[in-house]
């Protein structure tokens, strides 16, 4: 394939991935690595390098919008970034030691787990206010409020140490696989720390850029970030997610989400299969 041909194909697929990722809230980066490795035969190290950089672009775009609307809890995000950045550095070092087939199997497993979690229900209601905050939460002043149709809604934040622990795992997976680990970040805040789902999503987007930037340095120094391959991935995913956010308001996403889940599940199975048979 010529460079022009590859650029066109990767740009098109990245555009679709970014679009679907924004519509379904799953993030587009998660299908980029399987696509590059399985369909185009790209070495997985170049693929995770390109994916990681595109993750920073979508995070910056989404975070810019959410922060302005007042959904992100910046204090929670900043504090948990201690865990995600350290985890991401550990993950990026692991990526250099672990052999590509093992990375492929871990990647496939994460995709499949992601699909199962996306079917589980999330807590829509904010944690009831009478529940007192932890001492740590009070000391760090992590409690917040977010805008809603009925005015500002206050919420408490709980179990900060457990959240911080899960965030380190999310960071490590991000550094190892070149993904945003948005799903795990949302689970840590929504399920464990009792933060409302919408705030969790917005804060996760806010954190993803910093998490990814801390492993991007190591990827860069190891020579994983190729300009020719990363360029169409970054521009495509970015344009797709901007488009996706625009049409999000007037599109029923339930069926789309189901379709995207099926695609991700199949990609996960194929990643594991190819990892085990040594084809990646």
């Amino acid at each position: 394939m010529t460079i022009l041909g590859l650029t066109a194909v990767v740009l098109g697929v990245s555009l679709a991935a970014g679009f679907l990722g924004a519509l379904t809230g799953l993030g587009g980066g998660v299908v980029i690595v399987p696509f590059l490795t399985l369909a185009l035969g790209v070495d997985i190290r170049y693929a995770i390098g390109a994916s990681l950089v595109s993750v920073i672009a979508t995070s910056s775009g989404a975070a810019s919008a959410y922060v302005k609307e007042g959904f992100s809890n910046i204090r929670v995000g900043m504090f948990l970034e201690v865990g995600t950045t350290l985890g991401a550095i550990a993950g990026a070092f692991l990526a250099a030691v672990v052999s590509p087939p093992v990375i492929a199997v871990v990647f496939g497993s994460v995709l499949i787990v992601n699909v199962f979690f996306s079917f589980a229900k999330h807590s829509d209601a904010p944690s009831p206010l009478p529940v007192p905050s932890d001492r740590l939460t009070a000391r760090l002043r992590l409690d917040g409020e977010y805008p809603s149709l009925r005015g500002r809604v206050a919420y408490h934040v709980r179990r900060v140490p457990a959240g911080l622990g899960l965030m380190s795992v999310a960071g490590a997976l991000s550094g190892l696989l070149g993904i945003g680990s948005g799903a795990l970040k949302v689970i840590a805040m929504d399920r464990v720390m009792g933060i409302p789902f919408k705030v969790s999503t917005a804060t996760s987007n806010f954190m993803i850029g910093v998490t990814a930037a801390s492993s991007a340095g190591i990827y860069l120094h190891r020579g994983y970030i190729d300009p020719g391959l990363t360029m169409p991935v970054m521009l495509g995913v970015l344009a797709g997610s901007v488009l996706g956010t625009r049409v999000l308001v007037r599109t029923p996403t339930r069926h789309l989400r189901l379709l995207f889940d099926v695609v991700i599940f199949l990609l996960g199975v194929e990643m594991i299969f190819n990892g085990l048979t040594g084809k990646l």
Binding site: R139, G223, L238
Partner: protein
């Protein structure tokens, strides 16, 4: 710095929360637009010069030293043209969240929130350490 907003009592300790949110939001968008523009310029040059060549991503060889070190990438722009431009744009993209953290340090210091200033300085140090030194061979 004696605009009417700054003389309001609630902003006596630096910016208000809403002001910080707005600055962070604009900072992120500015970085994103700037980096996408630089990458797009690089893409046009790169495709015009190398578009008809064959690709070689099946075998991992790693990037040349010019694309591995932050201090080399900006000088490489003059020799590698298209790809050098793209790399410079990607570096701007990576620098955007770093700039956001650096701004947060300033904001927390002005709000005299010492615990969070320390937390943010730690995150900033981890980021800079990783981007400039970690894993360099």
């Amino acid at each position: 710095m004696d605009s009417p907003e700054n003389s309001r009592p609630e902003s006596g300790h630096g910016w208000t929360g809403d002001q910080v949110d707005r600055i962070i939001s604009n900072l992120l968008r500015l970085g994103l637009v700037l980096s996408a523009a630089v990458v797009a310029v690089g893409a046009a040059i790169y495709l015009a010069r190398h578009g008809n060549q064959a690709t070689a991503y099946r075998v991992f060889r790693g990037e040349p030293p010019d694309f591995r070190l932050v201090e080399n990438i900006f000088t490489a722009g003059t020799r590698f043209r298209g790809r050098g431009f793209i790399m410079a744009g990607l570096l701007l993209l990576i620098a955007t969240p770093v700039a956001r953290v650096a701004f947060s340090v300033l904001a927390f210091l002005r709000q005299r929130d010492h615990i969070f200033a320390a937390v943010t300085i730690f995150v900033l140090a981890v980021l800079l350490f990783s981007i400039f030194w970690l894993g360099v061979r």
